[in-house]
Symmetry: C2
Subunit: 296 residues, 2 copies
């Protein structure tokens, strides 16, 4: 199987869980429709898959961590709904369909996002892992998704948009918060949930570092594809980031150096997997490689 | 001390914790200002106090549960920020000051709300109580605050606004979701956090029931005060609920019967406290009574 096919198999497991997780939760019908519209709109389900595979590689049953893994997709999904709002990025389309507020109205979109975010923490709390591990993972996720992570990154991104003179360091920090935090925390939480003894701290460190590296690589590649024009593959709505006045890696260090940087990070991520073997280790290695392959 | 004074003493403890809980959390400055603007805008801090007092009455140290207790104020605060948005209730004022989006802009207000909600679950995860108790309480809070609770209640409230023929049952269910869920869950979570053996399930049930009763009574009294005109005491911004086309208890069952109903619920709540004695039991009894005293 190619990595794309392997990813699709994992994504299908996540998809099945996502399709049922909001049922029988006493959610008013109109609000439920709006939440499921965005949650079930497809996507690679990369974040949940990272939780599942890291946890499984370290000895944890996939079913046990599925609620926790799926919660990351609820968080990712809510962030897209709120980011698309007129007061934010004002996007009418998301993955080729009307964005949530275009379909259901702004008020419902705001509430759907709030509902998805809140439900995410409910799902996490019901993961079938040692209670202390679950609590630690929830604290990590709150940091990653919150005002010091993803939400803060979005605030900084809006502040930078249209501003000249954004430096490489500023760009890196902004992306680390906005998109990187959720990706490295997915890997880290997989390892935290599976932890059984003190030696697990080494695994947790490697998971976090692997996640940080592929997160940055992923962002650089997104910027590169934005320039070389692979809008379709990314499912981007309208207008490139450059057109929107956003600073990107290619605009700061050029296209070739951007590609080289992404490759370097991916190589480092793959090296971190050396202590591990088997199906999951192969998957994580191929996944890292797949990120940069998209631009070559 | 009067109950108002006792409440103020507890509120001051909560206030002190709230004043520091967002510091050193890596939150971008502008976003932090917006979050603290709403979080530290005063208020009775009723929800955190209910967590603290129920936990303490059942043998738990207040300091240990403070992060969890305070998280309810972050949730309450985020809900007010989002409810005030132009697409929602469109309120320019909150407690006599410009609402969050009037002061910081809509985008920042949306993100400040998202940040407060996410941080709330981080605080909960750091409560110093048995891990299994904390997880159970977090699951309860997610249900209470989410799309099947507070967020869903807001969606239903907007659907009912301006609609004729809302029944008493519909009104009751909407309020139970929108405001009741957070109040009864505050009491319930205090008892859950303090639970040490199976007998605690009886305490948890009583805490939940007490919370449900004072929650309804509180809502009825709010509706009554809206009619008899105590805008100042409630800190309501502009226009009564009636003027906004909202169905209220007095509009459905009349002013006198509304008052009688609130009194009945408060009496039932006080009865539930019979097995308990001491400072905390007295406080909870006086607090329930205080709710209806406001209308007499």
């Amino acid at each position: 199987m190619t990595i794309k096919e392997k990813l699709a198999v994992h994504a299908a497991e996540v998809e099945e869980f996502l399709g049922t997780c909001l049922k029988d939760r006493n959610i008013p019908q109109g609000l439920l429709e709006s939440m499921e519209y965005s949650l079930l709109a497809g996507g690679k389900r990369l974040r949940p898959v990272l939780v599942l595979v890291w946890a499984k590689m370290l000895g944890m049953d996939s079913k046990a961590v599925m609620p926790f893994a799926a919660s990351l997709e609820l968080i990712h999904s809510y962030s897209l709904v709120h980011d698309d709002l007129p007061a934010m990025d004002d996007d009418d389309l998301r993955r080729g369909k009307p964005s949530n507020h275009k379909k259901f109205g702004e008020a419902t979109a705001i509430l759907a996002g709030d509902g998805l975010l809140t439900e995410a923490f409910g799902l996490m709390s019901r993961a079938d892992a040692p209670a202390a591990n679950v609590l630690r993972a929830m604290s990590i996720m709150s940091d990653a998704a919150g005002a010091g992570g993803m939400v803060g990154g979005q605030a900084v991104d809006m502040e930078y948009t249209g501003r000249d003179g954004v430096t490489l360091d500023e760009l890196r920090t902004m992306h680390a918060m906005k998109t990187g935090a959720l990706i490295f925390s997915a890997c880290k939480c997989g390892a935290v949930l599976a932890a059984t003894n003190e030696a697990a701290e080494e695994d947790i460190k490697r998971a976090e570092e692997y996640g940080r590296l592929i997160g940055v690589a992923f962002q650089i590649v997104d910027d590169v594809l934005d320039v070389v024009g692979d809008e379709q593959a990314l499912g981007k709505p309208v207008g490139s980031d450059e057109e929107k006045g956003k600073t990107t890696y290619p605009s700061l260090i050029g296209l070739e150096e951007s590609k080289a940087l992404a490759s370097k990070y991916v190589d480092e991520a793959v090296e971190l997997l050396e202590p591990y073997s088997g199906e999951e280790a192969d998957f994580l290695s191929e996944l890292a490689q797949y990120i940069v392959d998209r631009v070559y």
